[in-house]
């Protein structure tokens, strides 16, 4: 684990740095929604999330970021990205992932973090092999996996929309979750996505994070834990402030409000990171949108459970 970041003198706001890989090439399915969600959910807690765009040719310094995001794109745009990822960023990305940096890779980005992507025609795109998995596109005639999708993740649900022609098969990689409704990795084995350390690959977009606030917060708390280490509690968390608004900064008052110590480990049935629990936000709208997808997939009981997370 990297050294806990020093408290910067004179800086009252905690800062996280998000590296957004290939924002110009991989931005097909509302990937901006994922970035916006992370940014706003940090901001509403008084944490500043700086987004640094990493394009083709930019090196990836594993110490310069606290979390990484890579989205999905069209096949035409993916070839130069695959090449750059392999040639320019692979060592930095590997170092970051082995150092437990949270990484979210959606759709095309997920495919490129596995061993390879075999398109319907043309040469294989070489991936990084972070996930022991591979993807094969069975040609234009094979049906695409398209539709609303729900999976179970850590005892809770994740919902999204999937649209992929490639079928991903897992080797030793752990899936992100189990399919409740939808296709998932390959429409056969009931798995969806892949995880390795704190890297998450998934086909869920829609966008993924806005309707899955618990997953967004999981990524944020992993990043906080990793970058600010165990010392966060003494330095940042003693304030005990709670968050009361919908993005309006009355609660900021120049104080540190990002973390809610009292709520820690008290809420059974909800995934709680043992070290860091973020201040809860008013997520009624998020959970209603989440539950609406579950209901249209016929998962009424899951929808009731999800609404209770409000």
């Amino acid at each position: 684990m990297s050294e806990p970041r020093e408290k910067q003198a004179g800086h009252e706001l905690m800062t996280l740095r998000l590296g957004h890989l290939y924002p110009d090439q991989l931005n097909l399915y509302g990937d901006r929604g994922n970035i916006l969600t992370l940014q706003q959910r940090c901001r509403w807690r008084g944490i500043q999330l700086r987004v640094i765009e990493l394009g083709i040719g930019d090196a990836l310094d594993p110490d310069a970021y606290d979390l990484l995001f890579i989205g999905g794109g069209q096949d035409r745009d993916q070839a130069p990205v695959a090449q750059d990822l392999y040639e320019t960023k692979s060592i930095g990305l590997w170092a970051a992932i082995e150092d437990d940096m949270p990484v979210l890779a959606v759709c095309g980005g997920y495919q490129l973090l596995a061993h390879y992507y075999r398109p319907a025609n043309g040469p294989d795109l070489k991936g990084l092999g972070v996930f022991d998995a591979w993807t094969v596109h069975r040609g234009a005639r094979a049906p695409r996996c398209i539709g609303d999708v729900a999976i179970s993740w850590q005892g809770q649900t994740l919902v999204g929309f999937e649209n992929h022609g490639g079928q991903t098969y897992l080797g030793t990689a752990q899936p992100l979750g189990k399919i409740l409704k939808g296709f998932g990795n390959n429409a056969q084995d009931g798995t969806e996505g892949a995880t390795y350390r704190n890297a998450f690959g998934t086909y869920l977009h829609g966008s993924l994070l806005p309707k899955n606030p618990h997953f967004a917060d999981h990524l944020i708390s992993l990043a906080l834990k990793r970058s600010y280490g165990l010392s966060w509690r003494e330095e940042w968390g003693t304030n005990g402030h709670t968050w009361s608004g919908n993005g309006h900064s009355d609660a900021l008052d120049g104080k540190l409000v990002g973390l809610d110590v009292e709520a820690e480990a008290e809420t059974p049935g909800v995934f709680i990171d043992p070290l860091v629990t973020l201040t809860s936000l008013d997520d009624s709208l998020e959970w209603e949108a989440h539950a609406a997808i579950l209901e249209r997939l016929g998962l009424s009981n899951a929808a009731i459970v999800a609404l209770r997370s409000r």
Partner: protein
Amino acid sequence: MHENRPSRAERRDMRKERRGSNKKLTPTVEMHESEATQTTDADEVSASDPPVADHVLPPARQVNRRSGNALRASLAVVGGRAAGALSRRLHLGGGTSIAGVVAQGLYPDIIGHLSTQLKEGSILVTGTNGKTTTSGFIAAVLSDAGLRVWRNREGSNLTRGIAGALVIRALPNGKLRRAGQAISIFEVDEAVMPRAVRTLPTRVAVFTNLFRDQLDRYGEVDSVLERWQQTISTLSPETILVLNADDPTIAGLGKHFAGRVIYFGIEDRTLDLAGQDEANERHQVMDTRVCPTCGSEYTYTLRFYSHIGHYHCPACSDERPKVDVAASKVENESFDRTRIRVELPGQSGEITVPLPGLYNIYNALAAIATAQALELAWEPTVSGIEGFKPAFGRGERVQIAGRTIRMLLAKNPTGLNEVLRTLAANGNQQHVLFVLNDKIADGKDISWIWDVDFEQALANFATLTVAGTRARDLALRLKYAEVDPQALVIAPATPLRAERKKAPVTREHARRGRQRGNHATLLQEQPENKIYGISQALNSAISRTPEGETLFIVPTYTGLLEVHHELERRGLAPRYWEETGP
């Protein structure tokens, strides 16, 4: 809309609208054969000979006419028309689609059989945005030029719509009525284009633009492009292509075409995004960015919106083609009146486009270029475009309780960004009702709303209402754009089932409720926010729009149909049709 005394063409249009009005009284979702009866109008039939009558038609791939085909065609026509009549009688719909479905079921090649009888051939219009408005402009120009115009209308642009449009004009013997002077305009879905050119004798093919749209239905932008390239390789060189020079993907379609290509584009440098807001430029959705020949990223010297502009490839010779029809000057006169100066080979002139937004300038240019392809005179081009009535949902206007309602269809990120930009140009403090549906015709994937630049538009909203099957998602999008929650009302299509049941209050639940205490949700504090369905959404939006002001309704495609249905139910849509009279 017209302050001046209406021109002859406008008066004719108004009569058409009136004649169409009793059909509008029924809750139909599609326009239907009114076009066929309209064109028997004396002043149109007696108009001078069509200036294009002696053009040779491209040899369409003729169907093998085995002896049984005439019989099957007449069977298909009778069956289709009966189904259409039944559907109208039962008020199930306009009947065009069902007539097409039935006819195609009885004789799959009915389109090929009927369309080869069209003496003046067919104009096909395709592209992501602007199909309906562009074909509307073309129809207005052609009918002002004295041609008998047939169209498939109202977005019913799958093959069954084409089949239906032909069948309702056919006689029981399988022959088209008065096909001699008729020219047909078909707006064709991007994905249907290959099939359409195989069956229709295509005289002019118009490609407006290519953006991401309904990724679930069409696959990605690239796969649409691939289909189009194949389509064009099968076209006869007699066909004339009309292409948007400012969209690199569209312009590229002309590169290897053996026949004539007419490019249209905008040359007004003052419209460049770079001269405007930098943030605005940065967040534009770019659906084409790399050169298809060498894979390098395009360099833009001018960008108008998204990837539309003046571009060239820095690595190879690929660049924006020289345009044949150019708007050299674009001047906004008011919200929905834009004066453009048009440069044609050897002449130039001015036209007022009676619709809002830059995208409609492109639609008008496409129509002007089509008129050039058909060698029509300049006068009908001007009168056709200036007298144009907004198509269904593309800027149409309704009066309701002292407020004006205007509908601006937006079905993909670029379309919605342009609508927001058009609203911004109209000043701030707008009242807007968004209707976001995710039915098949809208595209089931709504992740594109996260690519729309609501952040830029926040200052322009006075009140906001979100409705539709995905209202919750749009509300969430607006929440993350930090829309003032006081200004926002959410009206999902239906309540959640889980909300309808009384959720059991568990101990844990109660404790967490206490713990949050002051986190009481907006929705609980404001029970009037719990409204559902399009009717309540409309009521709420109207009541929050002060009298005398305008409520803009920005729906996706099926949202538009629902709003229209609702207005018709309230007897407002017919009133609108009457109002357009003199």
